[in-house]
């Protein structure tokens, strides 16, 4: 029996007065793009979240209640994300929402969850510079992915970096950070190119790459564009030995869609790989494949979506309540043995501590880890602990 206030109330927690035996479920919202261009990535996140819910339910649920997911389609359209989030909170009165992929979709949901005092778990690496009281970020912030990746590139690949990205908030902000970082550390940005989302012809950019002869390429392209970029890069005769590419949005699933043959030898920075060697991951990968098919692969955002559900469960149980304010309060310091290693919620930023990993694409389409941060890195969404980042954020 939980107490509740209307503002955060969910259907089940209204039962403080009438302890009904019937109502033994708690509803949560799952809000990803199941149609439109982003569906290629987001459908798997829904799958991972549903799998986590199923596991938790099988193990007895949360606070004795079975979790009942309400799935909605964000349709790759940010206003739709806002509308569906509103529907989940106002109409269905869900206890929390798991959802989003693009930063734009998160920015659209943000005012909705804040105004309704709801809760959103966002599972994808992003550009930082944000900290909503109603959002938990289970993907990497910049200091857990981009910053270490650039450091690693400077050390192992060279000083001249070519930046290519899709034209939206994540790549733009990420590259602003990269510019500052390279400047401070003696690297050079030889060029910075953006293409519209969904762009498919990279010949001209590749000509520019050939002309500039950089030591490496830092790639923040998103979605379909990656396929075109890598295929055409290979056709132009540029191999990873000549100019390696470091990507931050290419995980195992994207590799399958691009074709291993063109990606082998390139790099990506993440917190988790399907090949990450932990006992938790072994079971996770096995379960995922058993449930969704041998040919499916896991990857960083999939893992981040999966652990989001568990972290929420832990927080709810620690709080002894589904109430948003209590869950938030209880969240600080919660640890979970995630497939990618132990993670911990940082209550102050509502991000999580994660291990950073650099991987190289192998012939089988999976990653070989070539470097990791050893310990979990404390999330620093505003990069306050980096001198060179001063002035990047206004907070």
């Amino acid at each position: 029996a939980q107490s509740s206030e209307p503002s955060s109330g969910n259907k089940t927690s209204d039962s403080s007065a009438t302890v009904s035996t019937e109502i033994d479920t708690v509803q949560v919202g799952i809000l990803h793009s199941l149609s439109g261009t982003m569906a290629i990535s987001e459908v798997s996140l829904r799958d991972a979240e549903l799998m986590a819910i199923e596991e938790i339910n099988a193990a007895g649920g949360v606070l004795g209640k079975q979790i009942e997911p309400i799935v909605e389609d964000g349709a790759s359209d940010w206003p739709t994300f806002a509308e569906k989030a509103r529907k989940l909170l106002q109409q269905d009165k869900v206890a929390t929402i798991f959802g989003g992929w693009t930063s734009a979709s998160r920015k659209a949901m943000l005012p909705v969850v804040e105004q309704n005092n709801g809760l959103l778990w966002y599972p994808v690496q992003y550009e930082g510079m944000e900290q909503s009281p109603n959002i938990f970020y289970t993907g990497a912030t910049t200091n857990q992915q981009i910053v270490p990746a650039i450091d690693w590139m400077l050390e192992n690949q060279g000083k001249d970096i070519f930046l290519v990205g899709s034209d939206y908030v994540f790549p733009r902000t990420a590259n602003k950070i990269v510019n500052a970082q390279l400047k401070a550390k003696g690297g050079t940005v030889v060029a910075e190119e953006y293409t519209p989302l969904g762009h498919t012809d990279y010949n001209t950019i590749i000509s520019k790459i050939k002309a500039e002869k950089p030591d490496a390429i830092f790639n923040t392209l998103n979605g379909d564009s990656n396929v075109a970029f890598f295929k055409q890069l290979k056709d132009a005769g540029i191999t990873p030995e000549d100019i390696p590419v470091m990507s931050v949005s290419v995980a195992e699933e994207e590799i399958r869609g691009i074709g291993t043959d063109v990606l082998e030898g390139h790099y990506a920075a993440w917190n988790y790989y399907q090949t990450t060697d932990t006992p938790e991951n072994k079971t996770f990968v096995e379960n995922y494949k058993a449930k969704y098919g041998e040919d499916r692969v896991t990857g960083d955002p999939i893992e981040a979506a999966y652990i989001a559900v568990y972290l929420w469960k832990e927080a709810v149980e620690k709080a002894g309540s589904f109430e948003v304010d209590k869950v938030k309060e209880a969240s600080d310091g919660i640890e979970f043995k995630a497939p990618g290693g132990v993670v911990k919620i940082d209550g102050e930023t509502q991000h999580i501590y994660k291990t950073v990993r650099i991987g190289e694409v192998q012939a089988d389409g999976l990653f070989k880890e070539v470097w990791n941060s050893g310990e979990q890195v404390k999330p620093d969404p505003y990069l306050k602990s980096y001198d060179w980042a001063e002035g990047l954020s206004q907070e």
Binding site: D73, P79, E83, Q91, A104, K107, A108, P111, K176
Partner: protein, 358 residues
Amino acid sequence: MIKKYSQGAYYGVFFLMLLVAPLLLSEFRMGLLAKFLCFAIIAVGISLIWGFTGILSLGHGVFFGLGAYCMAMYLKLEASPSGIPDFMEWNGITEVPFVWTLFKNPVFAILAALLLPFIIAVVIGYFTFKNRIKGVFFSLISQAVVVVTVTLFIGGQHITGGTSGLTNFFTVFQVPLADPATKQTLYFVTVALLAIIMGVALLLTKSRFGRLLIAIRDGENRLRFLGYNPTFYKVFIYALSAAFAGVAGALFVLQVGIITPEMMGIIPSIEMVLWVAIGGRYSILGAAIGAILTNTAKSFLSESYPDFWTIFLGALFLIVVLYLPNGLAGLVEQLKMKFSKKEKVKEAKQSEADTLVS
């Protein structure tokens, strides 16, 4: 006479339903309905240019978006305590661009939401219509305008907010937007504006001007040889419908709280035309109802079948276009005809018999 009366009755029932709706709907559903009413305003404008004048614009999203952005800029400034919108800070902008400063003034923002689409439509319309670009050529040019606008808005993200668009507003005229009272007021304002716009549209179509629009649809070159310059008429009606879309955009932002470049894109622009096709392109009321019903169906389908709803929606579009070429309004008309026809046939038989006798 009877026809006029019955048409008035339809309108009466329609607005009566809109007025009692808040009593019956939950807060969320009412929010949705308010959004659909904004769409209905766009639909009325599209019916004017498409159904009556024969201009198929596949780029009305642009005008909707411009209206929405005008309003959103004002809201965003009001929601930025530091004076600089959050996304500009992320983009390292330290001073609000001049264009933005104008939108601090709500009156300017509202006027701009109305006039900017109008003016842009006048410019686009004047050149394309003067150069006698018609039919599908015009439709595809309007799509090209969409592509240019959307690409510019996404590319100019330091001043437009890029793909993410503008969102995270708190107040309008210092009143909290999330307040139920504000929402209710906005709803009634939308209903009132819809009524005004439908009224204007009706007046226009019932007048000689309306018949001229139909003449343009049937053969605008013919009209030139009767001493008219169809260009001005087309520009006017096109710009008017653009202004309607702009008004709808401004209302949309107030109630939905977000506008993105994709909302101006090709897909929404085509969907707008589909609402009108479903409702009945030759009927003002039909178009408005089409917008409301189609979007209701879309919401309902996507909530009930998140995995397959686009299949159902596609099938709905397909079936309506195939089997109801004049939309729901056409269907109603057909049914009415059926009833009255029976009587007419009887009459005709009677008169024929008379002539045979005489």
